[in-house]
Subunit: 150 residues, 2 copies
Amino acid sequence: MNEPFDLLQFLPFRLNRLAAEVSRRLHEIYGEPYGIDVAEWRVVATLGARGGATAQEIVRSTRTHKSTISRAVSHLMKLGWVERGRQAKDRRNLELQLTRLGAKMHDEIIPLVRAAEKDILLTLGKDTAQVLSAITRLEAALDIGGADDR
Amino acid sequence: MNEPFDLLQFLPFRLNRLAAEVSRRLHEIYGEPYGIDVAEWRVVATLGARGGATAQEIVRSTRTHKSTISRAVSHLMKLGWVERGRQAKDRRNLELQLTRLGAKMHDEIIPLVRAAEKDILLTLGKDTAQVLSAITRLEAALDIGGADDR
DNA sequence: CCAAATTAGTTGCAAGTGAGACTATTATCA
DNA sequence: TGATAATAGTCTCACTTGCAACTAATTTGG
């Protein structure tokens, strides 16, 4: 009596599959060539954009678990991409920043991921504005607003 | 000289965060109350819709790794939600189907997840059609089309 | 000023997951 | 027919990740 349920048409499923595939392709860009994973990429992108941040700020803005960020930072320091700046007054807050090498890698990767994003936006075509504003509304409804760390 | 890169505005990041949050909320519906995970939910939904399928068919249509599906099926059989039907001519293909209990659980869960989907669609509002067609185009472009198993 | 609470970051542990080896079964084709 | 390939499903291993306990530093309230 009920209309049949089709998982393949189910929006949450499709969203999930879509995001997974986009993530996978993005990872092909910075993963294999540079040897970093998604958490590490987020750290690099955040530090690159802000020119420095504490782990906590990265946790908040990327909504990634603090243990994941901690390990990502640790690996990036081993790679020589990230260093701790001089401690501020609060010695719990460890200010992080990209090294010269990290900045170079960042500047190499950014155009690549921008190009990948562009492909997506091209596919959206004339619906781009509606889709983006719909995503913004969804973020608000789900309480994951683009709001920065607070 | 380049315009600064903002991870928080980066579409792949936003998509990923969005899908993760939708998944998380969905999991609140069938996870805690029923004790199943996302792979198990996909198995139940697929078997419910088709009234029977092999593990391989579920793997293909849901794009979930075969070892994950294998474990999901194994757990669902322990729970008494799923049973193996009589083997077809090919004894490698194990036809799966919901038990009476599994069907009951399925019928309980479906309206709940439908309601969750409806919330999302309401948020999309008048842009719903455009967003859905954009998602369909993205699926095609990423080669994950809603195509069934083939 | 001191005890308790809070915050930043790290780490051990357990649960989950993909890759790929492995078994069993069926298909292909010389 | 018989050897080889292909397919379905299971299982082991290594790796990842979240949780929660833990350390260290700082803040708050009495």
